[in-house]
Subunit: 215 residues, 2 copies
């Protein structure tokens, strides 16, 4: 299969924007949504550890509750889909064991052959809790970046959202009981024809202000 | 311009892997690299604030120095390009003023019209330093996610790397003097024909283990 060309990539990254007003009637077709879930699942992470769950909320009543915990932003209820990107708050040895067992199964190797790798990961998750949590949260943002780029390339609008109350989201979605915590959100769907933000020029610093060459 | 299809997206996300051994003779063509720099620059961030610089290191002597500060990993010297993703360590009111002035210029509006937006951003960068730094670091990981997906779609191999000593990188690249700090790396180029990691099955948890539907 051929790679895409530069024009296609840049066109879609230019086309995307943080959609403020979605068309509530426009739903992402199931096949496309399945692709985005698959893309999320393929997100790279440190050690391949995947310290996350992606919670896809389509239930309107739950979305209405969550909107109250997100400064009443309309995207929460009006977008086709809401993804709550969560991290494993209790990341620890049991997760590492589960991961190593999964590698062994998928690759048909003995877990003992992965002992050195396991020890490296155990050392990483054995750091002070605040470091481990910060690390897990950063991995979740790789998934966010992958999701936003993937959606744009599929012609699907999205809005990344940090403006919400994680404790309330955790409570409404029952995440705290599972040891997960909401980190960041993305809503996805199709822009409303009258979203004024769709017409604004994209603002990025000049190349020389953000790209440094050490050649 | 047409969106890409689901098969193209998933194929390339499956194709990519954390390349451990690059072909040192294989260089990314200039036009493709320019596209990746452009993609980096188009990365979304909270408020659109872009609290980052992307340092592209191609100088072999500098790469050799950096490799010593990255546990001697061969990708640092053998990949076509090395990107050091850095964050603005001193993110504060001056950056917000610069950003607001840039929006006003690009969109042809008066800075006064952006006063409410400016106050929101100032409140965000006025939080305790460790919170602001953690937040800036997470934004940088959106860029990492965007970069890895973009590279894969262009048929370019990459390896995200957290295993390095940021203080040494900051010193070698003179970042501390500029108020920036290395957060994460990516090397990019083309896999060596004999990289054994290229043949390993990709390990991802099952959909039901990472995707939760609240429908």
């Amino acid at each position: 299969m051929h790679p895409i060309d530069s024009e296609t990539l840049i066109h879609h990254l230019q086309w995307r924007y943080a959609t403020k007003k979605f068309d509530p009637a426009a739903k992402i077709p199931a096949a496309h949504w399945t692709t985005l879930e698959h893309a999320l699942r393929l997100t790279p992470s440190s050690f391949g550890l995947q310290p996350w769950k992606f919670v896809i909320v389509t239930n309107p009543a739950v979305r209405a509750e969550l909107r109250k915990a997100a400064y009443n932003q309309t995207q929460i209820t009006d977008a086709s889909h809401l993804v709550v990107f969560t991290m494993n708050k209790d990341l620890g040895p049991a997760d590492v064991e589960r991961f190593i067992a999964h590698i062994a199964k998928v690759r048909g190797v003995k877990p003992e052959a992965l002992e050195g790798y396991k020890q490296s990961i155990l050392a990483s998750v054995g750091r002070p809790r605040e470091q481990v949590e910060a690390w897990a949260a950063r991995q979740v943002y790789i998934a966010l970046g992958n999701f936003l780029t993937s959606a744009a390339l599929l012609g699907i609008d999205a809005c990344p959202m940090e403006g919400f109350e994680p404790p309330k989201f955790n409570q409404i979605l029952g995440l705290d009981k599972q040891g997960y915590s909401a980190v960041v959100l993305a809503t996805a769907g199709y822009r409303a024809a009258d979203d004024p933000y769709a017409k604004l020029a994209k603002v990025r610093f000049e190349p020389e202000d953000v790209i440094v060459h050490v050649g």
